[in-house]
Subunit: 205 residues, 2 copies
Amino acid sequence: MNAVIIISGGIDSVTLLHKLVKGNNSIEALSFDYGQRHVKEIEFAKYHCNLLGVNHQVVCLKNISHLISNSALTGNISVPDGHYKDESMKKTVVPNRNMIMLSIAIGYAENIGFDYVAIANHAGDHAIYPDCRTEFINALSIASSIGTYNSIKIYAPFSNISKKDIVYIGNSIGIDYTKTWSCYKGIEFQCGTCGTCVERLEALS
Amino acid sequence: MNAVIIISGGIDSVTLLHKLVKGNNSIEALSFDYGQRHVKEIEFAKYHCNLLGVNHQVVCLKNISHLISNSALTGNISVPDGHYKDESMKKTVVPNRNMIMLSIAIGYAENIGFDYVAIANHAGDHAIYPDCRTEFINALSIASSIGTYNSIKIYAPFSNISKKDIVYIGNSIGIDYTKTWSCYKGIEFQCGTCGTCVERLEALS
């Protein structure tokens, strides 16, 4: 397979990157700076791409961050503490983020003659993030295959497994998860209390 | 209806803008600077939005133009002359352009609580541009309605009519088409020989 992967620098996308590279696939990686508080996650994406010899580009989308600012990740709303699946976590949804990132990755795949775009959405995302659900990914994959000459499809193998399962896969191939970033707050250390930190700790324990 | 419209400054999107405003809809307009040669089209978008009192924003996507550069509109390939439906016009396809623009417009619509995104793709686009076809628009509309809390849908009322029909609608509501831009070359005057100029002349004659 050849694929453009979207990599944030968190547990899920780093695991997918390693899995794809181990499988001898041709991979190009994109990370997105869309004005998120925790932009430091991208350093970890860079680290793993360097480690694996994968070409990695950072796409700057700060020019559109004001258009999708109604979120605790990109706007003036503070990041809520609590469980990843709590209703309060809706504040951390960035409007249509996955479609925006995927559409650019699909454009790039079409540009370089690739057939797939890979994304590491997982089952734990489903409660709060509508653009992480299998139905969304499948519908967008159909749109992409119709709208591109290369019939580009979306590869999202973690759609129906948990972050704990993802860590299990990653551990089996020796991924160092201390070199990943989850915390939404973007402060010096991962806070341990925001939704994604709570999920991270559950998965790694 | 409330809708975020994608407006280039050409005949089709200017007509859709006027039609929506005449219909007393709430409209927000976005134009995209994605590194196209004919960026001057945006001046005409601005003109009509000012005329109609519609809030208009220009979204700068120059940061991604290198990712979608395999096109005569954004890269080093020269703009072909000929008929809009000719095979040679494939060079003017910008990889996944409509999904990229629509995904940002959908994100913005979700951000401001709107229900629709409007785009003026038309039947003449179908031969060469896969991301202008009805099947693509319908599939992306499904993905958008699943992936957003507002169940945002795509409104594309010109999908199955010709540019001549669009001009007929526009003339009936008094649109001044001298204040629109089509030519892909972005030179001082519209060349009259590139694909979109040929289609423009056919429609206006």
